[in-house]
Symmetry: C2
Subunit: 126 residues, 2 copies
């Protein structure tokens, strides 16, 4: 381990490791149930806005802009806690969702499982 | 919605949406506790190997090769269920970990939270 790796993994300094597009991956988890809700991307602006407002903001890769989750649907994600992973290229947003997290109106975006035969089956509770 | 989007979001056909590097993001979750364990990437080979063996395999972007989580440490992840998100560019691996999921020997890679002052604090239970 280099001292930079050591610092990044064990240190108390938040130093997000952005990819070449300036993004880290963010995973939203329901703080109460622990359910995995959705995955999106954040740039420095989205991280700053999320910490400032207490509501999850992301960077849309397709639209190339900052967006607040729920800005049109009202299904915002209130951020209770932000966690960072060992190498600081991923964030866990522990949230309180105001409604379905998925744009399909499923509670979570992960509403299907892969069956043994390779087909997808809807999960009852997701 | 185009019919392709409809099929991808509502259909029963697993058709992962790989990025330009041939990868989807995979999130490993402890099936018993619901804890978020780690985040990695999978290509078609890693997905096939994971489904075939029942143990989580990923594609290392830095080493440019397939690896089985725990291949050197023994801390493998037994896969109980694989879920896919709405647009099929992310997978949730519901797993039973054989040991600490993080290479730092923390149970989860997400062992620090961002405090209000922007510093990182170790989480007791992670």
């Amino acid at each position: 381990h280099s001292s930079e790796t050591e610092l990044r993994e064990q240190g108390a300094v938040f130093m997000p490791r952005f990819d070449s597009a300036g993004l880290v991956t963010a995973v939203a988890v329901d703080h109460a149930s622990g359910a995995l809700l959705m995955l999106a991307h954040m740039d420095a602006e989205a991280i700053a806005k999320t910490r400032q407002t207490g509501f999850a903001h992301f960077h849309s890769r397709s639209r190339g802009r900052l967006w607040m989750k729920g800005e049109s649907s009202g299904h915002v994600l209130k951020v209770i806690e932000i966690r960072v992973d060992c190498d600081q290229d991923a964030l866990e947003l522990r949230v309180e969702p105001a409604g379905p997290a998925c744009h399909t109106l499923a509670p979570s975006c992960f509403y299907r499982r892969i069956e043994d035969d390779g087909s997808l089956a809807r999960i009852e509770d997701a």
